[in-house]
Amino acid sequence: MGIIAVFFLWPAAEAIRSSFFLEDPFFGNATFVGLDNYRVALTGSDYQRTAWFTAVFTVIVSLMSLALGLMLAVSADRVLRGKSTYKTLLMWVYAIAPPVAGLIGVMLFDQHIGPLVEFVALFGWEMRVGVNYWDTGIAMIIVSTWKQVPYCFIFFLSGLQSIPTSVKEAARVDCRSETRRFWTITFPLLAPTTFFLLILNITYAMFETFGTIDLIVKDQPGNSPVTLVYKVYRDGFRGNDLGGSSAQSVILMLIVLALTIAQFRLIERRVHYN
């Protein structure tokens, strides 16, 4: 409880308090401005643009890592020989520290030596990460997804393996088409896992991709797309607008709260099998 108070409640209260003030960046003199910080944040075109990018980014990263994780898990589940090797290799990315993984990801998109940049150049796409808004966005999406796929993979694989063999066999007797079996038996049985991962992925994409984004924009976002969390950091610590940044972080806190409530509501309603 003490730990929660010191590391969560106190900073949160401080953020809420300062979100109502206009802080002087040099002397700590604060002027009470009421909801002005919120108004400025929510109506600012820059904020809206960032919120829009965050939404697109979150949806794509969440769904893509789900889809890829599931695909890999299904094929790993089907492999009979060398299963553990396959599993270990796929989980490696997850074991790498985020900055290192981010750095590897960034190198893939390097303007001079990045193999992915060279690859898309073959199709006439001159990718300019860090300069072009959407090129940078795409790089962020790819690296963030790549980081999250192993996580989804592990959960999907264990979900797949917890489906009783006899149920799969009964389905083989009842249904000839493997694709149809997947969508009518396997996928519904994975629904709890999928839902859990979806919530987790949303949280990941919205909040935990900070490191990856920081590496890609190299601490100098300029015109590059960033997510709301990164904007909080940029406005607060680069722009020294503590009040505005606090207001933004309070808004984010509310989003997290909503997500958490949704999560618990749905988890309660979730069908419990067996």
């Binding site: 009783p164 149920v167 099998y273």
Partner: protein, 349 residues
């Protein structure tokens, strides 16, 4: 007509283990054949090969006049009931029953008819809209059987379907399976390790051991005329007594005591004797027997003891006075079965 012909089927796993070493069995129309044997004898593997869930290494499986070796399980016209029910947990009972038919593009009206017929037959009509998790073990078992019935298959395959149920329910369901199968007149293979289930259900029993058939026969044949010591000791509870004995052609000797016994064999043999065929006798004729333990089973009493150094059990009516100490036992020469000491094969007298 013969529904199913299993012709010299073998199963060798990639790691070299041979689970089934050349088995041939026929299942006639409407017949219930039970595969029985200890765990690891290959009975389930054999059933799963018929189902198409395991590949056949060698040999042929012919179902309703068609070789099915290479067919997918769904194309074989079989229906299987699994040990742990294997119901689809996310579907209602109705959907569980209809799933296989839907995938075969059966018209909806036909599906509805078949589902309600099966539900009626199995008394699960009131649960049709529940999920499997809301049902008891016995009800789930009925649903699993219903899922097999609606398919109108050429053959039912039961893989130890009752082993998850408690003893009382098991006896009840066993009887119901038998009635149901008689009523539907569909051929069936039933795999079990429980010899009581085998004896009560089967038209014919196939006793398997170490991937090979030990004997095929009706329950009565298997019980009274076991072909090998394995069958003799596997079928029947309490198991048949196995004693080391010596024959001379005219007599049978156990631990120095002998009775007149005419047989065209002389030398050491394994002698099989059902516990219920042994009687306690008064007077001099008979074998000396030392009682060690008594087990009362209600209607019958098992008397454990030994003749010389050899363990032997006899069953007697529980109403008779309990024996103790050194007594005499006797049996009819007709009830004695002789087996070759080395091969375990029956010696016919």
């Amino acid at each position: 007509m013969t529904t199913l012909k299993i012709k010299n089927v073998k199963k060798v796993y990639p790691n070299g283990a041979d689970a089934v070493k050349g088995v041939s069995v026929d299942v006639e129309d409407g017949e219930l054949v039970v595969f029985v044997g200890p765990s690891g004898c290959g009975k389930s593997t054999l059933l799963r090969m018929v189902a198409g869930l395991e590949s056949v290494t060698e040999g042929e499986i012919e179902l309703a006049g068609r070789i099915v070796n290479e067919l997918e399980p769904a194309d074989r016209n079989i229906a299987m009931v699994f040990q742990n029910y294997a119901l689809y947990p996310h579907m209602s009972v109705r959907k569980n029953l209809a799933y296989g038919l839907k995938n075969r593009k059966t018209p909806q009206a036909e599906i509805d008819t078949r589902v309600s017929e099966a539900a009626e037959l199995l008394q699960i009509a009131e649960f049709l809209d529940r999920k499997p998790s809301q049902l008891s073990g016995g009800q789930r078992q009925r649903v699993a059987m219903g899922r097999a019935i609606v398919r109108h298959p050429a053959i039912f395959l039961f893989d130890e379907p009752l082993s998850n149920l408690d003893a009382k329910l098991r006896n009840q369901m066993r009887l119901e399976i038998k009635k149901l199968q008689r009523r539907l007149k569909t051929a069936a293979i039933y795999v079990t390790h429980d010899q009581v289930e085998a004896m009560t259900l089967a038209d014919r029993i196939v006793v398997l051991n170490a991937g090979q058939i030990e004997q095929i026969g009706t329950p009565a044949e298997i019980y009274s005329n076991p072909a090998t010591t394995f069958v003799a000791s596997f079928i029947g509870a309490p198991p048949m007594n196995m004693l080391e004995a010596t024959t001379t052609g005219e007599s049978l000797e156990i631990d120095g005591q002998s009775i007149p016994y005419s047989v065209k064999h002389s030398g050491r043999v394994q002698m099989g004797l059902r516990p219920e065929r042994i009687k306690i006798v008064n007077g001099e004729a008979g074998f000396g027997f030392d009682v060690t333990v008594l087990e009362d089973l209600g209607a019958t009493r098992l008397v454990h003891g030994h003749i010389g150094g050899q363990e032997i059990t006899l069953a007697q009516d529980a109403d008779l006075p309990a024996p103790s100490g050194h007594i005499k036992i006797g049996f009819q020469p007709d009830d004695v079965l002789l087996f070759d000491e080395a091969t375990g094969q029956r010696i016919l007298t």
